[in-house]
Structure formats: structure tokens, C-alpha cells
């Protein structure tokens, strides 16, 4: 990813918008008693589009902002999401994305990883209460939501960041044919 000041501003806007939308919308809606968590999907998409560094830095920034706004232990969200972004970026740097199913599948798998990471971190930092088995159901449903939300998020971000993408040639619009002067 070629980072110009304009692209950096777009990335910052994406990070801020994602966190605000998550806290004000997605966390407050429930489907099957579970709220979707789009932040890992956003981090995965950024990692897939920009590589390890973009994924890790945006993951760290989103995690830090989340922890600040929710007055949770600082650093926990950053650690989990920067790892998520880094893994997505590593996938992009080592493998070709041939199938359109790869981004949503990766969003699903890495959301599962992030949710397990949040859980492991919460347990390591100490929980003095019983833990319900519904945590497992919540984690799995969140991953399934990530599969369905991952694709539009990936497409939207790819469109937004297209000028900065190295291996993303601009395709001519469908229906517009090349014309030759005088033909």
C-alpha cells in the first residue's frame, strides 16, 4: 500500500468510523441474542489490502481507541487486534487471493481468533465470577456474522483505498467499450 497523506487520512477516518459504528450501532443490536463485532473484520480487511504493517497498526489503533472509550484495561484490545491484523497481512503477503470467498472466510476465522483472544486475555487478567457456556455460542455466532459482514466490508474498503493499492489495477467500467477516433 502506498501511503500518501490523503490515504493516511482515509485510514484514520476508517478506524474512527468503525469504532463509533461498533459502539453506537453494532454492539446495541442483537440477532439470535448476539451482537455482531465488525472490528476484527475491519482489521482483517485492512490487513488483506495493505499487508502486515497496515493490519498491525490499524489493529493497534482500533484496540487502543476501543479500550479508551470503554474504560477497559488499556493494551488488551490493542494486543489482540494487532495480532489479528498482522496475521491477515501475512496471509496476503504469502498467498494469492484467488477466490472471492477468501476475505469473508478469513474474516470469520480471524474473528473467532480475536474473540478467543479477548476471552483468554480476560481470563488471564482475572475474572472472579462463574463463566457461562453461552460464551462459546456467542463467540461462534459472532464469527458467522463476520463471514456475512466481511465481504461488504472488504469490498467497501478496497474501493475506498484503491488508489493506494499496489496490485489492484483499475478496471474499466462494465458497458463502456474502448472507442477509436474515426471508427
Amino acid at each position: 500500500m502506498i501511503l500518501t497523506p490523503k490515504m493516511t487520512a482515509r485510514l484514520i477516518a476508517v478506524v474512527l468510523l468503525a469504532v463509533i459504528l461498533q459502539l453506537s450501532f453494532f454492539s446495541q443490536v442483537a440477532l439470535f441474542h448476539t451482537s455482531p463485532d465488525v472490528l476484527p473484520a475491519v482489521v482483517v480487511s485492512l490487513g488483506l489490502l495493505g499487508g502486515t504493517m497496515t493490519g498491525a497498526v490499524s489493529g493497534f489503533a482500533i484496540g487502543f481507541l476501543l479500550d479508551c472509550l470503554l474504560v477497559q484495561p488499556l493494551g488488551g484490545g490493542s494486543l489482540v487486534l494487532l495480532t489479528t491484523g498482522y496475521l491477515a497481512g501475512m496471509f496476503r503477503e504469502r498467498f494469492e487471493i484467488h477466490s472471492p470467498l477468501v476475505p469473508p472466510l478469513l474474516c470469520m476465522v480471524l474473528t473467532l481468533f480475536a474473540e478467543l483472544g479477548f476471552g483468554a486475555l480476560a481470563l488471564m487478567l482475572g475474572i472472579d465470577s462463574a463463566v457461562s457456556t453461552l460464551v462459546v455460542r456467542d463467540t461462534l455466532i459472532k464469527s458467522i456474522f463476520a463471514f456475512f459482514l466481511g465481504w461488504p466490508i472488504y469490498l467497501g474498503l478496497r474501493r475506498l483505498l484503491r488508489p493506494a493499492l499496489v496490485e489492484e489495477p483499475v478496471r474499466p467500467r462494465a458497458g463502456r467499450r474502448p472507442s477509436v477516433l474515426g471508427a
Partner: protein, 282 residues
């Protein structure tokens, strides 16, 4: 050139990982309050606007969830309605007696808010995406009189307690949060205990440390005990409804000294809440 790039990448990654651990260390050294308060102060107006703007879309999505849920509940509620009708007669008599007693002791006629407390009404503007932390942000802050430790209620009962405050917003740790513990008693038995969360299931709380010699039964109400000692007191005023006993197997009461409580407040779908400011700690 390539090696230099790889080295730089590794350095940035190491810096971020070390940064995360430093932040965690600072948090547990109680030194991150200022940063979090600063960021919250900047973002709370934006969150408030976003919350209001997105409310119709949120209500639409939640409508689908509630419709699916209501179908399953209908038959159970029919049965409960029969029981409730029979109980209503007794309740009416008790209400009349209660009204007389309130006049005698000159208590607040509504009885919803204990005397000495001033409610500050607010709206939930943000919510934690992680099930491990049951926190919400509300648009009531220190400017409205909210302080850390103030109880938070809604029309159904106790919701949680204020965990952090900025000038325009507060962080509320819900009673389903892993840090929550509320001293409570069962009515009418008077059995005392501590209501703790069952992390991951906001619809199921645990009333722990109860006296195993006294038996608690299903459907009994659980309210805050609001005890006061010379040096220490409960953070909650007495008799705020928390929930009702949903499961009380005898073996669990005797072996583990606990029963399960279903909170009256729907902790998954909170909108308007009240912070009880003032009170006996003032």
C-alpha cells in the same frame, strides 16, 4: 533494500507489541485514567450524535430479534399470566396497606427512588462489543452530578454502577459485568447474599453465599440489601429490585450456597437509565 524494509517492519511490530504490554502495565498501576477520560471526553459528543442518528436502524434490527424471541415465549407467558392474575388480588391488598404505611412514615410516595437520592436520567450511547466486559456508556457525566460508585437503575430495576466519569459521560459496569458484586436479599424470606454475574449470560445472575439452612424458592424477588456499617457500607440503597429467583435446586443451595436469578432489567437492550446521585455517601 529489502532486508532494511523487513527489519523496519519487525521493529514497528515489536514496538506495537511492547506498547500493548506497557499499556496493560500502566492500567494495572492505576495510571491510565487520564488518557481514557481524555479520549472519552472528546468522543462522547460524537457517540451521542451517532447513537441518536442510528436509533431507527438499531430498532429495526432489534425488532427482528424480538419477534423471533416472542414466538418462543408466548406459550410460557400464557401460563405465567394465569398465576399472575391470581397473585394480583393479593398484591392489590398489599399495595393499599403499603400506601397507608408510606403516609405514616412520610416516605416518597412513588417509592421507586430512595429518599436522599436525586435521579439523573440518561441514554445509553455506546456498548462494549465483547461479552467478557458488560459495560455501557451513558450521556450523564460529572456535570450532572454523577460520581464513581453511584447506582444506576432503569424502570425495571438495578442496572449497574458508575465505574468511570467524564464531564459529559459515564461508564456503567452492568450487574452482568465480571467486576460486579451486589449485596442482596431475597423477599420475603430475608436470605442475604451477593449477586454475582454468570459471565457470558446477562440473563442469568448468581446469588452467592446464601445461608444454606434457609431455603429459597423459585419466583421470589431479590432486592438490594443496602446494609450500612460503621466503617463500610454497601454502595446501593436498600430495596432496589434486582430480579427474581429463576432456579433454586436444593442440592445447589446446600452444596454451593447459591441460586440463579433472572434480572428484571433487560441488560441486552438498555436505552434510558437513571443514575442515582447523592444519597447517604454525600
Amino acid at each position: 533494500m529489502y532486508r532494511k524494509q523487513v527489519r523496519r517492519r519487525r521493529a514497528v511490530l515489536a514496538l506495537l507489541v511492547v506498547g500493548s504490554f506497557v499499556l496493560l502495565t500502566i492500567t494495572y498501576g492505576q495510571g491510565s485514567d487520564g488518557v481514557q477520560r481524555g479520549v472519552s471526553t472528546i468522543f462522547s459528543p460524537v457517540q451521542s450524535v451517532a447513537d441518536r442518528a442510528l436509533k431507527p436502524a438499531r430498532d429495526l434490527v432489534n425488532w427482528f430479534d424480538k419477534t423471533f424471541d416472542a414466538r418462543g415465549k408466548e406459550s410460557r407467558l400464557q401460563g405465567e399470566l394465569e398465576v399472575a392474575r391470581k397473585q394480583a388480588v393479593g398484591v392489590k391488598a398489599a399495595l393499599a396497606e403499603n400506601a397507608e404505611l408510606r403516609k405514616l412514615v412520610q416516605l416518597d410516595r412513588s417509592g421507586a427512588i430512595p429518599s436522599g437520592y436525586q435521579p439523573a436520567t440518561g441514554r445509553v450511547i455506546a456498548r462494549s462489543p465483547s461479552i467478557w466486559f458488560a459495560d455501557v456508556t451513558i450521556d450523564v457525566g460529572s456535570g450532572d452530578g454523577a460520581k464513581v460508585g453511584d447506582p444506576v437503575v432503569n424502570g425495571d430495576g438495578l442496572v449497574g454502577t458508575v465505574a468511570a466519569v467524564t464531564s459529559g459521560s459515564s461508564q456503567v459496569a452492568l450487574i452482568a459485568d465480571n467486576s460486579s458484586a451486589v449485596s442482596a436479599k431475597v423477599l420475603p424470606a430475608g436470605v442475604q447474599g451477593v449477586v454475582k454475574p454468570n459471565v457470558g449470560d446477562p440473563g442469568d445472575l448468581i446469588l452467592d453465599f446464601i445461608d444454606s439452612a434457609k431455603h429459597v424458592h423459585r419466583s421470589q424477588a431479590v432486592v438490594t440489601s443496602g446494609w450500612r456499617g460503621e466503617e463500610i457500607d454497601s454502595g446501593f440503597p436498600p430495596n432496589i429490585p434486582i430480579g427474581e429467583v429463576s432456579r433454586a435446586p436444593l442440592e445447589e443451595q446446600e452444596a454451593q450456597q447459591q441460586v440463579h436469578v433472572r434480572p428484571y432489567a433487560d441488560l441486552r437492550n438498555l436505552d434510558l437509565v437513571q443514575v442515582l446521585t447523592g444519597g447517604w455517601r454525600e
